[in-house]
């Protein structure tokens, strides 16, 4: 079983987490065009890379942002979603 080393809740099994997709910036709902909105809702960049992702920890009910490589499956950073979002990369959970 794969484990995630988390600075807040220690070493936890990955199976305790639910994947919530890549972190993306939501365009302003008031001014967005249909095309931009479709881009945001549907379009993805799914080639292999390192990306920030939402992960929900079910036992504690906390959202985390993992920095993970989608080719090697190595998780290089684990942060609280609230920490990342205050840094400015905000989208609604």
């Amino acid at each position: 079983m794969k484990f995630v080393s988390c600075p807040h809740i220690g070493n936890r099994a990955l199976s305790e987490f639910t994947y919530g997709g890549a972190l993306r910036n939501e365009p302003d709902f008031e001014t967005v065009s249909d095309k931009q909105w479709a881009d945001y809702v549907f379009h993805r960049h799914s080639e292999p890379k390192t990306q920030q992702e939402w992960w929900y920890h079910r036992p504690t009910g906390m959202w985390f942002i993992f920095t993970r490589n989608t080719l090697t499956d190595v998780i290089s950073q684990v942060e609280l979603a609230t920490e990342v979002c205050t840094k400015g990369a905000l989208n609604e959970a």
Partner: protein, 413 residues
């Protein structure tokens, strides 16, 4: 008998023709370049040559023929989908599949089994009725059956599911079948090659060159090829190809795992799927149970196998077939699924002139091999989307005209 054997031994060795001729060097230019030498790529090349007379075609495959998802799926063929678009499309595919062995003069071991999709909840029963009605409307043999019928057909199944989630009924689809997946790719490949198509294995496309909004060629690890038409038929590698032409797609790549058990005596002729339990199983002609589940939980570009998958799958499988607790798993493997938001494929022309997409095949690609080859060949030959694939165009997302196939395309919901 020994005399005959002796005579045979003294005979000159028989000259068996090679199944595939030796590969030639790459030509400078082709009319059409197909990226991906799996079932879809080979089928497209075959129909381009056979039905449209376009034979100056190169199929470029970075690995070997049928070594990707074509050889990794669980070989199920069916057409009991949920949307009108899906049903019409997959029905054509089943009809083409039925004649392939004759057409190729190669046995693809097409075996008609019947296909049960089990329902364990009221809402699942509702979806089964819905699917049955849509299917019947389009002339497809599909009906809702009760538990007694299932039990009679599959006496070894515990319809009570260990008391946890009893089976309430099922959608039964008589044309549901299995086939030898590699043979489908080989048959198409040989048929295409006999008509002049070139297949180049171990040839990786690294760049797609465009000029004034048109495709002009592809760069490969074996040199540059001029062409005005490129078709991407690469399943789980689609995002890497579309990135070469700066194209946005809604595809996300997830691993899909499967496994087989050791062979056991034949006990089940039909294919059994349970959306609620996230499992599907059929018994191969060798007696192995071929089993699969839903895709892995997160995006990943790796065909690694996990114990989590086998644990989850066998847990559910033992509820359905308690005796499997004594059966050993022989092999497990994974393929790369390019999943779309509506669980329907992305096919046809794109905004870039000369660039065609056959992608988004997620977990439902094998059963579409013949029809996708045929409709993509038509689309490329005429530079016009075939009627059957019009609803599957990439632009449907920007137009918010999705083809909601989730209820029938996969078990992961």
């Amino acid at each position: 008998m020994p005399l005959r054997l002796l005579k045979y031994a003294w005979q000159k060795p028989e000259e068996e023709p090679r199944f595939f001729p030796d590969e030639k060097p790459l030509k400078k230019a082709y009319d059409v370049v197909i990226i991906g030498g799996g079932g879809h790529g080979m089928a497209c090349a075959y129909y381009l040559a056979k039905e449209h007379g376009i034979t100056n075609v190169a199929v470029l495959e970075q690995g070997y023929i049928g070594g990707g998802n074509t050889g990794r799926n669980t070989t199920i063929v069916r057409s009991n989908y949920l949307t009108a678009e899906g049903v019409k499309f997959y029905d054509q595919s089943v009809k083409l599949f039925e004649d392939l062995s004759d057409e190729f003069d190669l046995n693809i071991f097409y075996s008609n089994r019947g296909h049960f999709t089990l329902a364990h909840t009221d809402s699942a029963m509702r979806t089964m009725r819905w699917r049955a009605e849509v299917n019947k409307h389009y002339g497809i043999d599909s009906e809702v059956v009760d538990v007694e019928t299932i039990q009679k057909d599959i006496p070894y199944m515990d319809v009570q599911c260990n008391g946890q989630h009893p089976v309430m009924g099922a959608l039964y689809h008589a044309p549901g079948s299995v086939a030898r997946h590699d043979a489908v790719a080989w048959g198409y490949a040989r048929g295409a090659q006999m008509r002049g198509v070139e297949i180049h294995q171990k040839t990786q496309v690294t760049e797609i060159k465009t000029k004034d909004g048109k495709v002009v060629g592809v760069q490969t690890n074996r040199g540059f090829i001029e062409t005005s038409k490129v078709i991407s038929m690469v399943a789980g590698s689609t995002p890497r190809i579309t990135k070469m032409v700066d194209m946005q797609t809604p595809i996300e790549v997830f691993p899909l795992q499967a496994c087989v058990t050791e062979p056991v005596k034949p006990f089940m002729n039909t294919i059994v799927v349970s959306g609620s339990l996230h499992v599907y199983v059929s018994q191969s002609s060798r007696g192995e149970l071929v089993m699969g589940a839903s895709v892995d939980p997160a995006e990943l570009h790796s065909t690694r196998s996990t114990l989590d998958f086998v644990e989850g799958l066998t847990d559910q499988m033992m509820d359905l077939f308690p005796f499997t607790s004594r059966v050993k798993i022989m092999r497990q493997w994974a393929g790369m699924s390019d999943i779309t938001p509506d669980f329907a494929p992305i096919m046809g022309k794109t905004d870039l002139e000369g660039f065609y997409l056959d992608a988004g095949w997620g977990t439902w690609g094998f059963k579409a091999t013949p029809v996708s080859g045929k409709t993509m060949a038509y689309t490329v030959a005429n530079d016009r989307n075939h009627d059957l694939i019009k609803p599957f165009n990439l632009s449907r997302f920007e137009e918010f005209a999705l083809v909601g196939e989730k209820g029938a395309a996969s078990v992961g919901h």
